[in-house]
């Protein structure tokens, strides 16, 4: 009988079962981290969509989420520019302009200290500034007077992402 060729390692049935049963370490960290946030499903989906999500480091998960806050802030800013270019009514114009300013501030002044805080280990500042970003997304939406704004999805996303980023930083305190 031919011997088993060298490249093949014959695994025992038990070993095969064990490998099948092991969850990946990274998926565990995402699940554990997201459980501690107010939007766990959103958190898991967002983190798994980023290649850095396979990290084993909670601060990096926080940084990924801050990046989502930043990217969304910038794309929302672009959307607002488009909407403003379409001559909205005065009330909508006023609300959009106020949101434009808020989103600009998120990118210029809330994201950098949050990233610095998560990178350097003084996590309370990421909690503070991501809370401020989430709050300003909510206020942006509220500025349209109660009906869904033309940037509703962006505002919800921003609120969720910033809240989750803040909660991740908070879990590190």
């Amino acid at each position: 009988m031919k011997k088993t060729p060298m490249p093949f390692t014959l695994l025992s049935f038990a070993q095969l079962l064990l490998i099948a049963a092991l969850p990946s370490a990274s998926a565990d960290l995402i699940d554990d981290t997201c459980k501690k946030t107010p939007y766990p499903d959103f958190c898991v989906t967002a983190l798994r969509s980023d290649p850095r999500g396979s990290t084993t480091d909670t601060p990096t998960l926080g940084l990924i989420m801050v990046d989502f806050v930043d990217k969304n802030a910038k794309s929302t800013g672009t959307k607002i520019d488009d909407l403003l270019g379409k001559s909205p009514d005065p009330g909508t114009r006023q609300a959009l302009t106020s949101c434009q300013e808020s989103y600009g501030i998120i990118s210029s002044s809330m994201v950098p200290p949050s990233k610095e805080s998560l990178t350097k280990g003084d996590y309370k500042f990421a909690v503070q500034y991501m809370n401020a970003a989430a709050d300003s997304a909510s206020k942006c939406e509220a500025g349209f007077g109660g009906s869904k704004s033309p940037i509703y999805d962006s505002n919800i996303y921003e609120r969720n992402a910033a809240t989750v980023a803040s909660a991740i930083a908070s879990s590190l305190l």
């Binding site: 200290p113 610095e116 350097k120 003084d122 401020a132 939406e141 109660g146 908070s170």
Partner: protein
């Protein structure tokens, strides 16, 4: 929504700036579906940032508290006295009104009140502090040298401890600082998270002639102070044990450790031990953003510290300040023989407001710390007497009757820069015995909650119609074990109409001894109020941002919301001058 873990006494002062999300985006106000215009619901518009005017913003700047001309400040660093000058360093962002890019700001004063801004002392320009020149402390050596230990953050985000010293000890202004070229001098030891290892203390000398200092950290959820020993400040050995640890308190930032005399009001140099000496151990709890302390006994042989009352251990007992206050640090002022305390006061308005007005944070007026040998169980904090140099004219009120349920206006020329001393007496001491069980109160609540014996106190930064007001008050109640408790409180919930400001009630218990009247001292300085009860047994710092009660519209009142007793109040109120803090005239030297 912050996780429940961060909730303490209802909310987390430094981070609970967000309004409730469930009320916001996406939910229609009731009535819109029935055809009522959303614009008729003012609550929606209220949540947008208040329409601050430049006049309102510039009113918020303090007149006699230390703050930089602009941008962000946090922890006080390395306070010291040298060659006729008091020095203050502080965490500072030179670029923005939010935290980041941290450098050491620097200011000097002859008298702890009139400060001069100096150039930045240290910037993150070396690999061992490229991530930030973080908090540190000064040690003055017997041979006249000054040693500064501070936390640096590397690009790899490891927290390490670095040594710096003045470039020129004959420069009284200590303008230039040299960073030891072989930094770091201390790195995180095995088993310690390299991102939870910071804020070295002032060193003290032990019985064998070796210096010791502390660095705060946590292991799991246990906060602790690690001990490092040195003879030369460049090489260190980690001591085998810790000075002290307390389960469940989390990361200990800005640890401070110092002796107090139990039989005199003199301050003690940091190395003093012996009979008649107790040691205060203090930590800033990262989890709660509060400064806790405990008094205990230090054993210099075993290098351990034991609290006098383990139930009031560090992190679970007394607060240094019950208000908006963090990262405090003391130093021994060898000039006057006092132990002096600095504390960082963050804003409670939003980060957006801070960016709009271009600055954030204030330091308290420095406080003298002494041991309270009447109670034996707490320290006393009192504004340095140099602040009294700012007093201008005085108005005195004797035995003003404030009946139950009433407000009495105090006629003074201006109410935004004040030094107030007030004594209250309750009419009819039998009222104290008549207090019923059902009024047990253990925590400060809004001043509108009335009971037999309180609350009574002052309404600060209030407008004539009381649409904005900040009550600072005593509230006497029966505690759950039947004895009388006095709470000292500051209610910020109506301090401003601006809805985005974080407003809550602050305060805690204050011991009042049998023969004592109820006394308060308040320093009012625009958007900051420092309130001291019973000679400084309990202190509350408040940040307030009125929109109406500013400039000439700000008034001062006495109030008595008790249902069962009248109080009489005697007050001395001084108008306070500005400290005119400005840059040091270096080009004129």
């Amino acid at each position: 929504m912050t996780p429940a873990k961060n909730d303490h006494r209802g909310s987390d002062p430094l981070t609970s700036k967000a309004t409730s999300f469930s009320e916001d985006a996406g939910r229609l106000p009731t009535g819109v579906s029935q055809g009522v215009s959303a614009k008729s619901y003012p609550s929606v518009r209220d949540r947008l940032s208040y329409n601050w005017t430049n006049a309102m913003f510039s009113w918020q700047r303090t007149a006699y508290h230390f703050q930089p001309e602009k941008n962000w400040m946090n922890d006080p660093d390395g306070p010291l006295y040298y060659m006729g000058w008091y020095h203050l360093f502080y965490q500072y962002n030179p670029d923005s009104a939010v935290w980041g890019n941290i450098t050491w700001g620097h200011a000097v004063s002859r008298d702890l009140i009139h400060w001069f801004y100096l150039p930045l002392a240290m910037v993150p320009d070396r690999w061992f502090d490229a991530g930030g020149v973080w908090t540190g402390s000064a040690t003055l050596l017997p041979d006249g040298r000054i040693v500064m230990l501070y936390t640096g953050d590397t690009e790899e985000s490891i927290q390490i401890q670095n040594l710096a010293y003045p470039a020129n000890l004959s420069d009284p202004l200590l303008l230039e600082w040299v960073k030891y070229p072989d930094n770091p001098v201390i790195v995180p030891p095995a088993g310690i998270d390299p991102e939870e290892f910071r804020d070295p203390t002032t060193a003290w000398i032990g019985p064998n002639g070796t210096w010791r200092l502390l660095i705060g950290t946590k292991v799991n959820d246990t906060g602790m102070a690690l001990i490092y020993e040195t003879t030369n400040f460049t090489t260190y050995e980690a001591a085998p044990g810790v000075l002290h640890a307390v389960n469940g308190t989390g990361m200990w930032e800005c640890v401070d450790f110092y002796p107090v005399s139990t039989n005199s009001s003199e301050g003690l140099e940091t190395s003093v031990v012996g009979p008649g000496v107790k040691h205060v151990l203090k930590a800033s709890l990262d989890d709660l953003k509060m400064d806790y302390y405990a008094i205990g006994t230090y054993d210099p042989v075993s290098d351990t510290w034991t609290p006098d009352d383990p139930e009031a251990d560090v992190g679970i007992g007394l607060l240094v300040d019950y208000g908006r206050y963090y990262a405090s640090k003391t130093f021994f002022d060898q000039n006057t023989g006092r132990r002096i305390l600095w504390g960082w006061i963050n804003e409670t308005d939003t980060d957006y407001d801070d960016l709009a007005k271009g600055w954030a944070s204030v330091q308290t007026i420095p406080r003298v710390v002494t041991f309270d040998n009447k109670t034996g169980s707490n320290i006393l904090e009192w504004p340095v007497e140099e602040v009294e140099k700012l007093r201008l004219n005085r108005t005195k009120f004797d035995d003003v009757l404030v009946e139950a349920g009433s407000v009495v206006a105090l006629n003074i020329s201006s109410a935004m820069q004040l030094d107030i001393s007030v004594e209250f007496e309750i009419e009819g001491s039998d009222a104290l015995e008549a207090l019923e069980e059902s009024e047990a109160i253990i925590e400060c609540a809004t001043a509108q909650n009335r009971s037999t014996l309180g609350p009574f106190g002052l309404l600060v930064l209030a407008d004539e119609s009381l649409s904005e007001l900040t009550p600072i008050y005593f509230h006497i109640a029966k505690s759950t074990n039947g004895s009388l408790t006095t709470l000292f409180c500051a209610d910020e919930t109506r301090s401003t109409k601006a809805s985005e400001v974080f407003k809550k009630v602050y305060g805690g218990p204050v011991p009042v001894l049998d023969d004592e009247k109820f006394t308060m001292r308040l320093l009012v300085d625009h958007s900051i109020i420092e309130s001291f009860a019973q000679g400084g047994r309990t202190v509350i710092t408040s940040r307030v941002y009125p929109t109406e009660a500013i400039y000439g519209a700000a008034k001062l009142f006495l109030f008595n919301n008790a249902t069962g007793v009248n109080v009489t109040a005697s007050l001395e109120i001084w108008q306070m001058n500005s400290a005119f803090i400005h840059p040091f005239p270096l080009d004129e030297m």
